[in-house]
């Protein structure tokens, strides 16, 4: 796995901390998590981001030699949906938490409290890595991701509003996102069934 480039982690860290410190509740709650480590394993992009809680700040690293207290495994899509619909994404399997679930949800909660806009952050971050990972991003539907992230920026001023008008309405988009998740889940199930079928055939022995 390639480490996230310094530009991406720096941009993420700056944005996260700006928003965390702007929120009194989060700023007061964060020091209690000092020393704890959350890993975001972004599936499909082969990218890990490590969030280290430290005093009133969060440090974002592309690589870390220590062990995480918790890991959130999610596609960029799953990550977006976590911030959109709370636990919904978890129930639908778009995101998975391993390790200390309570901590992951606590830090995740603080990030949500601070109105961290994951869609925008990731879109911007992915823009930064585009030079290195263009081919991979295109495969992962990077263009779509950037467009839909822009669509979710309802209140970001004139420029984005005009951009957004070119894109599907948010209800439509939400419906489509659900469709994509359903398809993904179906494929997972189909895969599992195929594996079971193969296993059964192997048990039955050669015909």
């Amino acid at each position: 796995m390639a480490a996230a480039p310094a530009l991406l982690t720096e941009a993420l860290e700056t944005a996260l901390n700006a928003m965390l410190t702007a929120n009194l509740e989060a700023a007061e709650a964060l020091p209690a998590l000092t020393g704890r480590v959350l890993c975001l394993d972004i599936e499909g992009l082969d990218l890990q981001l490590w969030l280290l809680a430290a005093g009133r700040r969060v440090q974002v690293l592309g690589e870390y030699a220590g062990a995480p207290d918790a890991t959130i495994h999610a596609t960029p899509l799953g990550l977006m949906r976590m911030s959109l619909g709370g636990g919904e994404a978890l129930l639908e399997g778009a995101a998975r938490i391993t390790g200390d679930t309570a901590f992951a949800q606590r830090l995740g909660g603080l990030l949500r409290l601070s109105a961290v806009d994951w869609e925008e952050l990731l879109a911007r971050g992915l823009g930064d890595v585009a030079g290195h990972q263009l081919a991979r991003l295109l495969r992962a539907g990077g263009d779509w991701l950037r467009d839909s992230a822009a669509a979710l920026e309802q209140d970001l001023g004139e420029y984005l509003t005009e951009e957004a008008r070119l894109l599907p309405a948010s209800a439509e988009l939400e419906h489509w996102l659900q469709g994509v998740e359903a398809l993904r889940a179906d494929v997972d199930r189909l895969e599992a069934r195929l594996r079971r079928l193969e296993a059964r055939r192997a048990e039955a022995g050669p015909a």
Binding site: T34, A54, L61
Partner: protein
């Protein structure tokens, strides 16, 4: 002694014993505006340089890290969360004003559980042999009077397997960039020093001291001379800055 014992202070030659005093004067004067000036002078890029340095250090929980010439604590503030409660970060600077700025900043950020502060001269480190997993010196080595002694002291204090990272201004690797950089550092930099910090002379010194600092290959050689192995360097921003990394094996 027939040969006068002198060293560089920017482009001037000064007696060896005077350099430390003059450098101290510069940093006493700029301490409270140091972070702001760094942002202005490097257009914010120094944050990325420091981030890459910390990434190359690759510290892990439990490590003991010494940040020399740590100034306002940029590197130490990144290391502290990474080494965790079982680790230790010692922020050290020869200059009391700078060290106080760094200490206040780390305390303000709540990084108090695993940090210590030591005012020390890099040429004569007050630590036992083999006591750190990682030593960093960011934008500090060029201000040290006897660099060979400082490198030897760092080597002594590192544990076997430990690494030294030197983040320092270096020499641009291509000619056009080098021209622009000259113009920037000798005209614009002192001007910014005058306007923002009200102190043109100090910033002129900073620009000049960068020029007389050894280039990439020379510093690599000096580190090898001091006993470091597997020494390599990474040019950043076209060689305006370089990170040297060497191991004590």
């Amino acid at each position: 002694m027939a040969e006068q014992d002198t060293t560089h202070f920017g482009f001037q030659k000064v007696p060896v014993e005077e350099k430390a005093r003059r450098v101290a004067g510069v940093f006493h004067r700029v301490a409270d505006k140091y972070d702001l000036m760094n942002d202005l002078m490097s257009m914010g890029i120094h944050r990325l340089w420091k981030r890459v340095t910390v990434e190359l250090a690759g510290v892990r929980p439990g490590d003991r890290v010494l940040d020399l010439a740590g100034g306002t604590g940029d590197l130490a503030a990144r290391f502290a969360p990474q080494v965790g409660d079982s680790g230790l970060v010692v922020l050290s600077d020869i200059n009391e004003s700078m060290l106080r700025e760094g200490r206040d900043r780390l305390i303000d950020e709540g990084l108090v559980r695993n940090t210590e502060f030591v005012q020390a001269n890099a040429e004569a480190l007050p630590f036992p042999d083999n006591s750190f997993d990682c030593i960093t010196i960011g934008f500090g080595l060029r201000n040290v009077t006897r660099k060979e002694r400082a490198l030897a002291a760092m080597h002594r204090c590192l544990k076997p397997g430990g690494r030294l990272l030197v983040l320092e201004f270096s020499h641009p690797v291509n000619e056009p960039l080098s021209k622009v950089y000259d113009l920037y550092s000798f005209k614009l930099l002192p001007l910014m020093g005058r306007v923002v910090a009200g102190d043109e002379e100090s910033y002129r010194y900073l620009a000049e001291s960068i020029r007389v600092h050894p280039d990439q290959e020379t510093l690599k050689g000096m580190m090898e001379q001091a006993g470091f192995e597997r020494v390599e360097y990474f040019n950043l921003t076209g060689g305006i800055v370089a990170i040297h990394r060497g191991y004590k094996l």
